[in-house]
């Protein structure tokens, strides 16, 4: 299996006044292509901090982070922006769409930063919106869409650059369980078509969709286990 992410003994330390907060104390893990990993743990255990580092939004205070064999810890802001743009697709709990732009423009945006010409951008943005089942909502703005639809737009935006990995930090946290299940079905489909997914969640049922669950506590990995009986939404229907 091709290794995408290799993290060795990283820590993330925040200085709050005189006190040092070890959001991540010492974490090592590997993610391979087409893995589907859930990260769990109590609030404040460092899940989001780990996701931000994996997603190159943040850099570790110490330790080594290799993304597709490249040392991210030593990259400058521009190089990190390029990795985020081309290799990583983010899905957030609060969707984080541009509120005044249409679904189409939101999905198109990463491709603008990638420097693609308009015709290619539009074609790929349509395609991505189609994949998440929103072909008939391209001209809607976020406030004209339901929560589930907004999260689909966000997923389309994460997909559109054909990234190496999709990072979702509590993607169902703001959705009811029915809509949450729909989103999980979408992730499952993406996984089956070859995508690599890391998902942060509080809910055991959601985590059971993944192949592997990493449990964090106080900035340390508590366990890293294969899920024996995965919940597969597709099979249930």
């Amino acid at each position: 299996m091709e290794n995408i992410i290799s993290i060795e003994h990283i820590a993330r330390i925040y200085q709050v006044g005189l006190e040092e907060v070890h959001a991540l104390a010492d974490v090592s893990l590997k993610i391979n292509r087409n893995d589907y990993v859930a990260i769990m743990g109590p609030s404040g255990s460092g899940k989001s901090t780990l996701m931000n580092i994996i997603g190159c939004l943040d850099t570790p205070s110490r330790g080594i982070y290799l993304f597709e064999k490249e040392n991210v810890s030593q990259m400058n802001d521009n190089q990190l922006a390029e990795i985020r743009n081309q290799k990583i697709g983010f899905v957030f709990q609060t969707f984080n769409l541009l509120p005044r732009s249409t679904a189409l423009h939101n999905v198109e945006l990463p491709l603008i930063y990638a420097g693609l010409p308009k015709s290619v951008r539009l074609e790929r943005a349509y395609e991505a919106l189609e994949k998440v089942g929103l072909a008939d909502r391209v001209d809607h703005k976020p406030n004209e869409l339901s929560g589930g639809q907004r999260q689909r737009v966000a997923i389309a935006r994460a997909l559109v650059t054909q990234p190496s990995i999709i990072l979702a930090d509590e993607p169902t946290g703001n959705l009811d369980s029915k809509t949450g299940n729909d989103i999980m079905a979408l992730f499952e489909e993406l996984h089956e078509t070859g995508n690599t997914i890391i998902l942060v969640t509080h809910e055991e049922e959601i985590a059971q969709h993944a192949q592997r669950i990493i449990r964090l506590r106080d900035g340390l990995i508590e366990s890293n286990e294969i899920v024996k009986e995965r919940t597969l939404v597709g099979n249930n229907e």
Partner: protein, 415 residues
């Protein structure tokens, strides 16, 4: 095309589109923000237009009277050095002085005595109250650039004989003879019948006021002495130099000749002044530059206030859109992309403001055009655009820099 250049152009183009979207999303505020720039640009363009107009008007007015002229006078037009009472105590300049000067001065191409009076002029029911009258000789016309729309100036015979003939400025002729046909008719000038022999062409310059040929009448100086004024009245000697290079020489000669004519000994001061149009011009230029400095100060101030306003709004905008900036960074916007986006937003807002200001200035220019021979200057337009762009870039930089520096994690967490 070079790949780097084309990708830079792409980035600029997409950046501008993103900025336009952001501005369109905040139309009301953008419009309010730009008010300072609108006023600033409107002021700077209108002022430069008006000043240009004043300048042209004065040039026109002065050149219609002859720009290579000297005026030998008891009074100094612009002379802060000699106290007024000293000027008052000078001997009057008499007709005899004029004749002797004319005889002795070799350089001028034309000379004429002149003096002024005011008389009410009537033709039937049409009246011009206290019209400004230049009383002079037939040579006067040669010292000016005046043209006739009808008739002629008075002749040497009429001049010497002090005949009751008059030449009217165009505005006067229009008032007395609204339907034309002035030449040949007799008008009543302060109770005397005078025959109109000529009407001048319109000069169209308001700046000279009473001195504007449009608003004057011209009569033989001998007629004035016979009917309206004492022969002892001080006159002005109008002297025309052959060309502008000769003006100084003519002036030097005039001083020498006049000292002789007035019988001054070597240790006596000149008891006459040699006046020049240039005096008027330099006086005007002084006034214009005072207006200019004041105007540019005000303009600069309003642009400065406008720029501060834009900067302020951009800071607010960056604060408000922190999350948007976080999102953009998370999906791959680089520092310089964000920097460029906010700078171009500020620049576009300013440019809009500048263009609106320009539109107002064009309208104001049309209104001014009714009094001043002027139109918007092309360089003022270019300047206005450059100023508004520069204001945008300068005032947008600090907020844009702040935006570009935001940490993506913090920005995404911002509520």
């Amino acid at each position: 095309m070079n790949k780097k250049v084309s990708s830079l152009l792409f980035e600029i183009k997409e950046g501008l589109i993103i900025s336009l979207r952001a501005i369109a999303a905040n139309k009301g505020r953008s419009a309010l923000t730009t008010l300072g720039i609108v006023i600033g640009i409107w002021a700077v363009v209108t002022m430069s237009t008006a000043l240009k107009g004043i300048d042209i008007a004065f040039q026109n007015g002065v050149s219609s009277l002859g720009s290579d002229n000297l005026y030998i006078d008891k009074w100094a037009w612009f002379n802060p050095d000699t106290p007024w009472w000293e000027l008052r105590n000078r001997r009057n300049i008499s007709m005899d002085d004029y004749y002797r000067y004319k005889e002795l001065a070799k350089l001028p191409i034309a000379t004429a005595p002149s003096t002024f009076t005011r008389k009410t002029v009537k033709f039937r029911d049409n009246i011009v109250e206290s019209m400004f009258i230049t009383a002079t000789t037939s040579d006067y016309i040669k010292t000016t650039n005046l043209d006739f729309s009808d008739g002629r100036f008075f002749t040497d015979m009429e001049s010497k004989g002090g005949r009751n003939v008059i030449v009217l400025g165009s505005a006067i002729a229009e008032q007395l003879f609204p339907f034309g046909g002035a030449v040949g008719n007799y008008v009543d000038v302060g109770g005397r019948k005078m025959k109109v022999v000529g009407v001048l062409q319109k000069q169209g310059s308001w700046v000279m006021g009473d001195f504007n040929p449009d608003n004057q009448g011209y009569i033989p100086i001998e007629f004035l002495f016979k009917n309206f004024a004492s022969r002892r009245k001080s006159i002005t000697i109008n002297v025309r130099a052959p060309n502008s290079q000769m003006v100084e020489a003519v002036k030097e000669e005039a001083i020498g000749v006049m000292r002789r004519v007035r019988g001054l000994t070597y240790n006596e001061k000149n008891d006459f002044s040699i006046n020049q149009q240039e005096g008027i011009l330099s006086q005007i230029n002084k006034t214009v530059s005072v207006i200019q400095i004041g105007g540019f100060f005000i303009t600069g101030l309003s642009l400065f206030v406008g720029a501060i306003g834009i900067m302020n709004i951009m800071f607010v905008s960056v604060k408000e859109r922190t999350r948007e900036i976080g999102i953009r960074k998370a999906i791959g916007a680089k520092k310089r992309t964000i920097l460029g986006q906010f700078i171009s937003e500020a620049s576009i807002i300013c440019l809009f403001g500048g263009l609106i200001g320009l539109v107002f200035a064009v309208i104001t220019g049309m209104i001014i055009n009714q009094w001043l021979p002027t139109s918007i200057q092309f360089d003022a337009v270019v300047l206005a655009i450059l100023i508004s762009l520069a204001t945008g870039i300068i005032s947008g930089f600090a907020p844009a820099y702040q935006a570009s520096k935001l940490d993506p994690v913090d920005a995404l967490r911002y509520e």
